[in-house]
Symmetry: D2
Subunit: 361 residues, 4 copies
Amino acid sequence: MAGNTFGTLYKLTSFGESHGRGVGGIIEGVMPGLFLDLEFIQNELNRRRPGQSEITTPRDESDQVEFISGVFEGCATGTPLAFVIWNKDQKSGDYDNLKDVYRPSHADYTYQSKYGIRDHRGGGRSSARETIARVVAGAVAKLMLKQFGVSIQAFTSQVGEIKLNKPYQDLDLLMAENNIVRCPDADTAMLMIQYIDDIRREHDSVGGVITCIIRNTPTGLGEPVFDKLHALLAHAMLSINAVKGFEYGSGFVAAGMRGTNHNDEFYINEGRVRSRSNFSGGIQGGISNGEDIYFNVAFKPVATVLKEQKTVNKQGDEVVMKAKGRHDPCVVPRAVPIVEAMAAMVLADAFLINNSYNSVP
Amino acid sequence: MAGNTFGTLYKLTSFGESHGRGVGGIIEGVMPGLFLDLEFIQNELNRRRPGQSEITTPRDESDQVEFISGVFEGCATGTPLAFVIWNKDQKSGDYDNLKDVYRPSHADYTYQSKYGIRDHRGGGRSSARETIARVVAGAVAKLMLKQFGVSIQAFTSQVGEIKLNKPYQDLDLLMAENNIVRCPDADTAMLMIQYIDDIRREHDSVGGVITCIIRNTPTGLGEPVFDKLHALLAHAMLSINAVKGFEYGSGFVAAGMRGTNHNDEFYINEGRVRSRSNFSGGIQGGISNGEDIYFNVAFKPVATVLKEQKTVNKQGDEVVMKAKGRHDPCVVPRAVPIVEAMAAMVLADAFLINNSYNSVP
Amino acid sequence: MAGNTFGTLYKLTSFGESHGRGVGGIIEGVMPGLFLDLEFIQNELNRRRPGQSEITTPRDESDQVEFISGVFEGCATGTPLAFVIWNKDQKSGDYDNLKDVYRPSHADYTYQSKYGIRDHRGGGRSSARETIARVVAGAVAKLMLKQFGVSIQAFTSQVGEIKLNKPYQDLDLLMAENNIVRCPDADTAMLMIQYIDDIRREHDSVGGVITCIIRNTPTGLGEPVFDKLHALLAHAMLSINAVKGFEYGSGFVAAGMRGTNHNDEFYINEGRVRSRSNFSGGIQGGISNGEDIYFNVAFKPVATVLKEQKTVNKQGDEVVMKAKGRHDPCVVPRAVPIVEAMAAMVLADAFLINNSYNSVP
Amino acid sequence: MAGNTFGTLYKLTSFGESHGRGVGGIIEGVMPGLFLDLEFIQNELNRRRPGQSEITTPRDESDQVEFISGVFEGCATGTPLAFVIWNKDQKSGDYDNLKDVYRPSHADYTYQSKYGIRDHRGGGRSSARETIARVVAGAVAKLMLKQFGVSIQAFTSQVGEIKLNKPYQDLDLLMAENNIVRCPDADTAMLMIQYIDDIRREHDSVGGVITCIIRNTPTGLGEPVFDKLHALLAHAMLSINAVKGFEYGSGFVAAGMRGTNHNDEFYINEGRVRSRSNFSGGIQGGISNGEDIYFNVAFKPVATVLKEQKTVNKQGDEVVMKAKGRHDPCVVPRAVPIVEAMAAMVLADAFLINNSYNSVP
C-alpha cells in the first residue's frame, strides 16, 4: 500500500487500524523550538472523539495522544514527532458475523480484491478511526500557523435537508463550538440536531456539508500548475472518509455565472492590494492573494445503518446482513476538526515550500 | 517554483509559458514497447486547440507536438519521453498595455507577489496554454490504458444556465465529438452553442460543468488513506485552470441523502461482484470496484472579458483596463480533452503503483 | 528536519532518539500476505544489539520490537507496518556533564547550529541507536527477498590494520556469524578480536570495513540515470552513522586499471548470459545483470573515546571533556546487520519499482 | 523507467539519448530573479565537451544549450527552466554492426533485459552524453551558490598509476583548468597526459580519480538520518557513468585509524567554532559544519576499447566484436565539470530545504 504520507515538507505518515493496537503517525517538518501545547492538541482530539454528545456514537474512546519522539523539554526539536493513540474499548466481536461479508458502500470488497487479505474488524485501515492521526498532525500545524496569525475555522453548513443559508461573514464562527452539531447559527443548529436525532431513531444515516474559512493567510502560498493551493486542499479533503465533493470560492455556482459578475475587482486599501468581491476564494492561479480562503466539503451518509441490507460475501453468495454496534447517524459534526486539520497541514506545507526559496537572498 | 510534476510512477513534468518559446514536458513511466500512435496524440491536441470553431478563440495555433526522446522505431523505449510544442502566432503586443496591470481574477497579482518577477505576456506560466503538455501526457496514458480496455470520455454537461439533464447512461457519449460544444445531446448542444454565442456578442464570458465517465476499470486501483483514487482525481481536476469544484459519484447531492437510499447493494452477476446502484461512483475506500467511475468538474467563467474593468497596477494605482486580443467566451468545450487527459494520467499511475506489489509472487 | 524516509515504494520512515521513549518506524510497500516471521526479525535485532560480546558495549538493551499495525493473523495486510522498540537501560546521567559541550567528531555542534535546540542525551536523534529501525525494516525486506531466493550477507573485512585478504568466493560467508567480530575467516577473526581488545584497553577506538555480497539477484533491478542500483546502495550506506566511503565491484582499484583488463567478457552458460569476470559488481548501467553484487563500506573509528579531549562548549569557551559510559571500541561487528538491512531495503524497493511496469501486459 | 529526477526542491529531470534528437532537462527550484549568465553556463558545457584536446575524443559536438522556458529578460522567473542541447555530428552508422551485440561492461545487455527494447545507437540513454543535462543544471546551481560565496572545485587526482600526492591545501586549484588533464599540479599533469597518450596509442583505456573541494559552505546544510549531506553526495556521484566509488573526508583511510587521531578537535577562531583537523570532511552527523567539504570519486576505465573482444549477442551466440568510432581513453578530465555539477545540485537543494524551516519566525 502506498499513499500513507501527506505533504512534501510538512508531512504526516500515518498508520493503524480500527481494532488493532492503535493509530498514530510520524510528523516531519515541524519548526524546531515550537512549544508543543499538549492541552491544545488533546482538545482537538476531543473535538473528534466519539461519544461527545447524544448525536454521536456512544463509544467513549478517550483517545489520549502519546508522543514518542521529537520533543525535548516541551518543545519540538525538529526531529520526527512520532505519536500513537492506543485503541481501547473496541468491541471486535461486533464484527465477527461480518468477517466474510462485504458491507454495502464500505471498503470491504475493494480491500479484499486489492490485497487478498484484510483486517475486517471495524473496517481495519479503512475505518474513519484513521483520521485521529490527521487531527494530531493538524493540531501541530495549527500551532505553527498561529505564529503567523493564520486562523482556520470549519463548521457544519448542511445536514441532510437542513441548510445554513447565511453568508459566513454574517456569522460568529466561534459559536460553532457551542452546540453539538457545530453549526454557528443557533437556530439552524437546533433544527439540525432534531433532524439527526430523527434519523437516528429510524436507524438510518444522513450526509451533510462542512464549510471551512481560513483567515489572515499571507500572499504567496501555493505552487502553481499541479500543486495549486486549492488542488492540494481538494486532495486533502477528498482523502477524508465519506467525502464526495469539494468546491472553493464560488464553486459549482460559478458554472452558471458570467465573467463580468464573477471577476473580483482589485482596489487599494491601506496600501495593500485587496479585492472587493472574493469569488476567487482567496486563491488566484493557485496562489493565495491574502483574502479569506473558503471552501465546502460534501459528505455522504454513513454507510453503516442498523437495518437489514442485501449484499454478497467473500464466497460469492448473496446474503442479508445487519450491522451491530455503535455508529454515528451523521459524521459531519465530528468531521469538522478533521477538515480543519487537513487544511492546516496543507497550509503549513505551503508555508515551508514558499519559504524555501523566498528566504534565499 | 515547485509543483510542476504530476504523478508518482506515471509522471509528467511540464514547462513553458504562453508567449515564450514553447510548452512541453517530460513523461516518465511509459510502458516500454508501447506503440506511440502519433496521429492519435495529435488528434487529442487538436481537440484542445483554439480556433476549432466559431465559439472558441480564433487563434489557430496548430500546436504540433514534437517528441525529442524516448522513442525508437515508433515505440516507447521506457526512457523519458520529452516533447515540445513550439509557440507560434503569439501576439505579445496585445499584452504590452497590461505589463504592470493586475487583471481581475487572473494570476498576475499573485505571481508578482510570490516571485517578484513575472513574464506578463499572455499570463506566462499561468496561461491555460500550459495544459497542452497535459493533453500530450494524457494521450500517451490513454494509449497505455487502451491495452486494458479502459475508456475515458468527458463531455460538456452545463454551460451557464443550460444544463444537460439526462443521466449519462441514456446518452451516446461518442456524440459529444459531433458538435462544437461537446455535449452528447444534440438538442442541448444547440442551446449551449446559441447561449455561448450570445455571451460572446456581449463581450462577456460564462462558466460550465464537464462530466467524465471512466469505463472498464479493473478493481484495485487507488491507494487508500491519502491517495484515494478520487482524491487524486480531485487533485488532478482542481489543478486545471479555472476549475472551482469537483464531485464524484453522488457528489454534493449525497449531503442531502439517507444511508438506506445511498448505499449500493452488492449482488453477483456472471460470477462477479457488482453493485445495483452506483452512488459510490466506482470507488469505495479510495479503491476502484469495477463499476463506472464518474465525476463532475465545475469551471468558472473566463476571467478575460472584452470590457472595461477597474483594477490596480504594480505601482499601486487604481486604473481602468480593457483586454484586447482573442479569447474564448467559455473554456468548457476545449477543456473536455484536458479533463480526460488528467483522468488518464491518474489511472495510468494507479495501474503502475498497483502492479508494483501485485505482481510479486 | 527532512530526510527521515528511505525508499520510493518500499519505504521506511523512522523516528526516535537515543534517550527518548523509543525508536521505531513505519514500513510501507510490504507485500500483502507476507508471513511476518517475528523470530527472524528479532534475531536480526539481536545481531545489532549492544552487549552481545566482550568487544561490544556492555549495555544489554534487549531491544524487543513491538509491531503496532499492519499485521493480521501473523501476516502483513499491505497496510503500514508501524513498530517501536522502547528505550530501556539508558543512563542519561552519563551525559549531564556534556549538556553544553560539543563532543569532537560528533553531531552535537552541527545539530545545535542547525536547529537551535537539541536533545543532547546520548546524541539524541544522531545516535546510532536510530539504526534499530533500519534493522527491522531490513529484516522485513529480507523476508520479501527470500521469496525470490535473493540472499544478502555482509561481514567484517577490515579492522584497523588487520585486513582479510581472501576473495569472498573462497570464504564460507556463513562462518561470519560464528565469531564476535563477524569475519568469516577464523584466523583473521582471532587477530581482529585481539586487536580490538587491545584498543579497548587503551581507551581508544578503531575503524574498519564491511563487505557485502548479494546473490541470486534477477536481471533488471535498478533505474538508470539518477537512481542506478549502486547509487542507491551508496546513498543507503553513506546514511549509516560513521560511514566514510563506498565502493562496488572493482571500486577504487578500477582507477588504476586498464579497460582491456577491467571489461567483463560475456559468454553463454546454460542458455543464460553470464560474464567471466565480475569487475562490474553485478551492475551495468545501474541495472543488475544477475551476477553477484558486492561492495565495501568504510567506517571511521568511534568518535567517543574514554580519554580527555579538548573542545568547545555552547557558550564559546574552550574546554576539556572526558566521555563516560559504555561505548564500542569498534562499531564494525555490530554494523554488519545494518549494512545488510540497508541493502535489503534498496533491493526490495528496486523489485517493486521494476515490477510496476514489468507486469503490465 | 523511473529515476530521471535528481533533487527534492532544486530538481533536474533529464531526458535524451546519445543518437536521438537531443539531450536536455527541466530545472525546478531556481531562485526567482537570478540572472542566468548564459556565457558561464555555456563555458561549463565547453569544459565537458568532447574534442577539447588531443586526449579526449575528437568529436566536436559543440553542445550549444538552448533554453525554452523559465527566463524573462535574462532572469529566471521561478518557473521551470527547460533546455535542450540538440544532437549533431552523430555517426550512428558506427553502431550498426553492434545493433544486436552486448558490448562488454556496457549497459547493452541490462537495458535489453530490463526493457525488451533499446536504442542501441551510441548507448542510447545509457550514454555519458546524458551528463550534458547535469552540467547545465549544475551551472545554474553554481550561479545560485555564488551568491553565498560557496565555491566548488574539482580536479583530476589520479590517472591509472599516476597519483597526485600533495594535500589539496598545498595546491592552487585554479591551475587545474590550465592543462588538458585538469590536474592542478603541472608536473603531475604532464605525467598524466603522457600516460593517457600512451594508453590511447595502445587502443586501450584507463580509470582515474577526481577530487572535489567545496569551500565557504555555511553550517546547517544536510538533513540527518537518510539524507545526510554526504549520503546525497555519494548518491549524486555514483549516478555518474563509470563511477565505482566515493569517499569523503578521511574516507577509506579512516578504517585503519584510531579515534584519538581521527577526532577533529574544536576550538574558537574569531568567535566561530572551528576544527583543527578536518577528517570529518566538513560534515558531522550529515550536516555541514563550515569546514571544507572534500571527497574523492573513482572512475573505471572506459569500457569501449578499440580492440577485439569476445562477447555474446541478442540471439545468444558467442561473437567477437570490435568497436569503431571516436572514444576517450580516459573520461576523468572531462568528468571534472560533471562532478562539480552534481555537487552543486546537492548543495543548492540542501540550501532550499534548510531555508524552508529556517526562515519561519
